[in-house]
């Protein structure tokens, strides 16, 4: 267990920022521009992997850029959870970029340079959040992420996009400024520290009322996590192009929200405080539980593929929050594992949704009857992705849900077990019939069915890669569990 002073975390963040600059400069030469992204992504991945052995040994990599306020600095620290999250975001950046090329280039979409530029900035910000050593740095990158993704959401620049973008910002900026920021300042004013620490920052005997208020402010303040009732920005943001929905609204942005909540719960409040104060734990679990069930129910009613996926995402995010709220070892481990598992599953689904739209112009589930026979590759990938989200073997989702279920039994909140199970059933209910009908029903829309054909390789291959990832995660879950284990070791004393 060493703390290593290292500049590598900063390099990791800077790589994609530099790439963003190059993208802006090379805008006129699309091939050069996109190769830039790949080079950056590979370098970034390499740097991250170089940190992995150390982190798995229990080392922490730290770097303090500058002190901005007394006792609050712009500082980075890489631990297992951060590294895991960064790895997931960066490794998924590569297939998404391939997919974007496949989707945007044939359409001759406008402002591709802006698109890739903002994308790179968003990745930088997400990694920045992952590596933040304190709440302040985290908040900084959290806001940067909101702002850099706004142009991506409004990419189409039509009325729908503007409306969606407006909602996106109102919710994300509004909650973070009105709730998270004051909560953070109050924490600073009460404790004089914002560093994430084992056991939290609050002194013993801090009034429970204050803690409850702060907790609620944080939970809702990080609205990227999609806790109800601050969730509607996510379905609204589905106006974005498919790759944006895929990487950002299944992985980077929403997971940043959840990640921030994990950090606050473990590093600011502390797992012990959570476990020993029933009211805190209950609030987290109840809020997450309600969101979980309600979101799954709403997902059932959605006909638009992307909306259904969006509500599914909202539900799955609450799995993670609920897992942390349980405040048990296996609960937290399960929650940690659920980040990569769900990421791979959901991105597969979104990529498929994009591919489906490109292949046969279908946006709605009801138009999909029988399409599976026309586009078998895409639908197979979709099937694997949905298995992963539901949590069935042989996909990674099974592993994380296993730990979550175990965690719920060990905790004082056994009702969570029922919630998990119900929700998983609901997941199955909104995914499987869809897949079944796609393969085995007769076509509902003959004209579309006739014209449909498998989309170009550049769009299908990324989906297949991530689908493969879902399966591989199941077999290599042991490696991932090491990350979760290290994180639990760091933050849970008992």
């Amino acid at each position: 267990m060493d703390t290593i002073h290292s500049f590598t975390p900063v390099w990791v963040i800077l790589t994609s920022s530099v790439a963003a600059l190059l993208i802006a400069l090379l805008g006129r030469w699309p091939n050069l521009r996109e190769s830039c992204i790949f080079v950056a992504a590979v370098i970034k991945l390499g740097l991250l992997l170089s940190l992995a052995p150390g982190v798995l040994d229990g080392d922490l990599y730290e770097f303090e850029v500058m002190e901005l306020l007394p006792n609050v600095s712009l500082a980075f620290r890489v631990d297992a959870l951060g590294l895991l999250f960064a790895l997931v975001s960066v490794s998924l950046w590569i297939p998404t970029t391939i997919f974007s090329m496949g989707l945007l280039r044939p359409l001759k979409s406008h402002a591709q340079t802006r698109f890739f530029f903002c994308f790179a900035i968003a990745i930088s910000s997400a990694v920045g959040v992952a590596f933040s050593a304190n709440l302040f740095t985290l908040f900084l990158f959290y806001e940067a992420l909101s702002l850099s993704t706004y142009p991506l959401v409004t990419h189409h620049q039509d009325d729908d996009a503007i409306k969606g973008g407006r909602k996106y910002l109102t919710y994300l900026l509004g909650t973070s400024v009105a709730l998270a920021l004051p909560a953070m300042i109050i924490v600073y004013q009460k404790t004089g520290s914002l560093d994430f620490a084992n056991g939290g920052v609050f002194a013993d005997g801090t009034s429970t009322t204050l803690l409850v208020v702060l907790l609620v402010m944080f939970l809702f303040g990080f609205a990227k996590a999609g806790l109800m009732p601050f969730h509607t920005w996510l379905p609204g943001a589905m106006v974005a192009p498919a790759p944006v929905s895929a990487l950002l609204h299944a992985v980077a942005v929403v997971k940043v929200g959840v990640f921030s909540i994990i950090r606050v719960l473990t590093g600011i409040f502390g797992v012990d405080l959570l476990a020993n104060t029933p009211s805190l734990s209950t609030i987290v679990c109840v809020l997450a539980g309600i969101t979980l069930i309600v979101a799954s129910l709403i997902a059932l009613t959605q006909d638009n593929i992307k909306s259904r996926l969006a509500y599914s995402t909202i539900g799955q995010l609450s799995y993670i929050i609920l897992g942390i709220g349980l405040a048990t070892k296996s609960g937290i481990a399960g929650a940690t594992l659920h980040i990569p598992m769900h990421a791979f599953g959901k991105i597969t689904l979104f990529l498929c949704a994009g591919a489906i739209y490109q292949a046969c112009g279908a946006k709605c589930i009801s138009q999909m009857h029988g399409m599976g026979r026309k586009i078998p590759l895409t639908m197979t990938a979709f099937f694997i992705g949905s298995l992963c989200v539901i949590g069935l073997p042989p996909t990674g989702g099974f592993v994380s849900k296993w730990y979550l279920l175990t965690g719920s039994l060990n905790s004082g909140q056994q009702w969570a077990f029922a919630v998990f199970l119900t929700s998983s059933l609901l997941n199955a209910a909104y995914f499987l019939p869809f897949v079944y009908k796609a393969f085995f029903s007769s076509p509902s829309d003959e004209a579309k069915w006739e014209s449909a054909k498998e989309p170009p390789l550049l769009t299908v291959v990324p989906a297949l890669i991530t689908a493969m990832g879902c399966v591989l995660l199941f077999f290599f879950s042991g490696k991932l569990y090491q990350f979760a284990d290290k994180f639990v070791e760091l933050y849970v004393s008992k």
């Binding site: 306020l69 712009l74 406008h110 402002a111 503007i162 973008g165 109102t170 400024v177 009105a178």
Partner: protein, 501 residues
């Protein structure tokens, strides 16, 4: 020579203005470089003073050398440079210098053929503002107040049309403010017989039941409130700054109100004292409510406006609420926030008005509806504008974030939750306005990069305006990153000592 630095800060623009009044007739082209030179001298001196004062403590300068007469009281006029005002002096002269560089093209087009005395008046305005910030004599402060006010009436009236009435209203309100201030000075003088701030701070008892001193305090306070457009005395400001020529507004808007806030801080914490303020248990909550009201009303009215300049003016009104509120929280983070915001807000407002000036220069007006496609026409300007608005909203790591940070911390410490709520509300309102502008300027237009849509010609503001704008905008970020240094080396020494122990 360093001993003379305090007066050089004032003399730079003062002498430049006097000489410019000659060259206005003899060599009209010389007026502008003269004024820029004067401001540059002033800025250099002020900057040097920041370091000297941070190292060695306050510097006192006696005009006419009437200070060391072995008399208990200073018989002449004294100017004082201490940690409370070095930063402000630098800000005022720096922003004035940058704005003067920026304003040349604007003045040539907006005031074509009428600019004879413009630069002289501009320089005199800056003299007045610097004087208010540097003087150590409460009557001298009044004279500087009037110098700044008279030159700003003229600078505003340059706008023609509705500017005359706006300027006249400002004149009536401004004179009223100055008179209330002077009357307050009389009430202080009648009890203590001296006008020197340092002497007064020594003899005004901290817990004095004297009604005269109290009335004097309230009068002075009302006077500076009128000058700074604090709610409910804000009526004159939006019209005055909106109808003024953009070049005038770019100097007035960031500086004039801030300097009045400084005067309030000086009176509150140097002439009177922290204990005195804390003793005013009846007044403190009222002022805090007024601050909240200022922020809320400013935000609300900025939402209802359709003119960019008008919106910016209501921002100023709400920002004034920040500073007054912060000062009246009378605790360490609150005061730190107010003092830091003094500098930060001057920089932000300056950047905002510079960006608006660039837009006005090209588009001829600043109605929101006219902004369609402006992001494609003037990408650099709009980038600066967006960063500035982000600073006003309080997005880290710009300076706006840190002032808000301290203010909220102060309010939380004092338990004044309505002030916290108002601060957050104002952030949100500014965010709404920013995105409304982005929508209109960026999204409400057929994207020129899509085939078939007409290309929007790039029509950026001239470089002489663009460079200062961008520099100021980058300054906002630099200021934000320098927060800790500023707070720990300078502002900490400006906050009353009782709070920092």
């Amino acid at each position: 020579m360093t001993g003379q630095l305090p007066i050089i800060v004032i003399l730079g623009p003062l002498l430049a203005a006097i000489l410019a009044a000659f060259t206005a007739w003899l060599r009209p082209k010389l007026s502008y470089p003269l004024v820029v030179l004067g401001l540059a001298i002033s800025f250099t001196a002020a900057l040097k003073l920041v370091f000297i004062v941070a190292d060695e403590g306050a510097k006192i300068y006696w005009l006419g050398n009437w200070g060391n007469q072995n008399h208990e009281f200073v018989v002449g006029i004294q100017i004082t440079v201490d940690n409370l005002n070095t930063l402000l002096l630098t800000t005022v002269s720096g922003i004035a210098l940058l704005t003067a560089l920026y304003a040349k093209r604007l003045v040539e087009t907006e005031l074509a053929g009428r600019q004879r005395y413009f630069y002289a008046l501009l320089s005199l305005l800056v003299t007045g503002l610097l004087g208010i910030s540097i003087t150590g004599d409460i009557f001298n402060l009044y004279v500087f107040l009037e110098i700044a006010a008279l030159s700003s009436y003229a600078l505003i009236a340059y706008g023609k049309g509705r500017a005359y009435m706006a300027s006249f209203n400002y004149l009536i309100m401004g004179t009223m403010g100055a008179c209330l201030y002077l009357l307050g000075v009389g009430f202080v003088f009648i009890k203590h017989g001296t006008l020197n701030i340092d002497n007064l701070s020594g003899i005004i008892p901290t817990l004095d039941p004297s009604q005269a001193l109290f009335v004097g305090f309230v009068l002075i306070l009302l006077g500076v409130w009128v000058k700074m457009a604090f709610f409910p005395f804000h009526g004159w400001l939006p019209n005055a700054y909106t109808h003024a020529p953009t070049a005038s507004a770019a100097v007035l808007a960031p500086l004039a109100t801030k300097v009045a806030v400084y005067a309030m801080l000086r009176i509150m914490f140097t002439v009177y004292s922290l204990d005195y303020i804390n003793g005013l248990t009846g007044i403190q909550p009222i002022v805090l409510y007024l601050s909240t009201a200022a922020i809320v009303m400013g935000s609300f009215f900025s939402l209802t406006q359709t003119n960019l300049k008008m919106i910016a003016c209501y921002f100023i009104i709400s920002e004034i609420g920040y500073m007054v509120g912060g000062a009246w929280l009378a605790n360490r983070p609150g005061l730190t926030g107010a003092m830091y915001h003094l500098v930060a807000d001057a920089a932000m407002t300056s950047a905002l008005f510079m960006a608006i000036g660039c837009i006005v220069y090209r588009l001829g007006q600043a109605q929101l509806d006219d902004l369609k496609g402006v992001f494609f026409k003037m990408p650099v300007t709009m980038a600066a504008f967006v960063v500035t608005m982000a600073a006003l909203i309080g997005v880290p790591p710009t300076c706006g974030f840190f002032s808000k940070w301290y203010l909220i911390q102060g309010a939380a410490e004092a338990g004044v939750w309505h002030f916290v709520a108002a601060l957050l509300l104002s952030s949100l309102v500014k965010a709404i306005i920013l995105f409304r502008i982005i929508e209109i300027g960026y999204n409400r237009v057929a994207h020129p990069a899509i085939e078939g849509n007409p290309a929007i010609p790039r029509n950026e503001a001239p470089l002489s305006m663009l460079i200062p704008t961008v520099a100021m905008t980058l300054g906002l970020i630099a200021l934000g990153l320098a927060t800790n240094t500023l707070v720990n080396t300078i502002i900490v020494n400006a906050v009353p000592a009782a709070l920092t122990q």
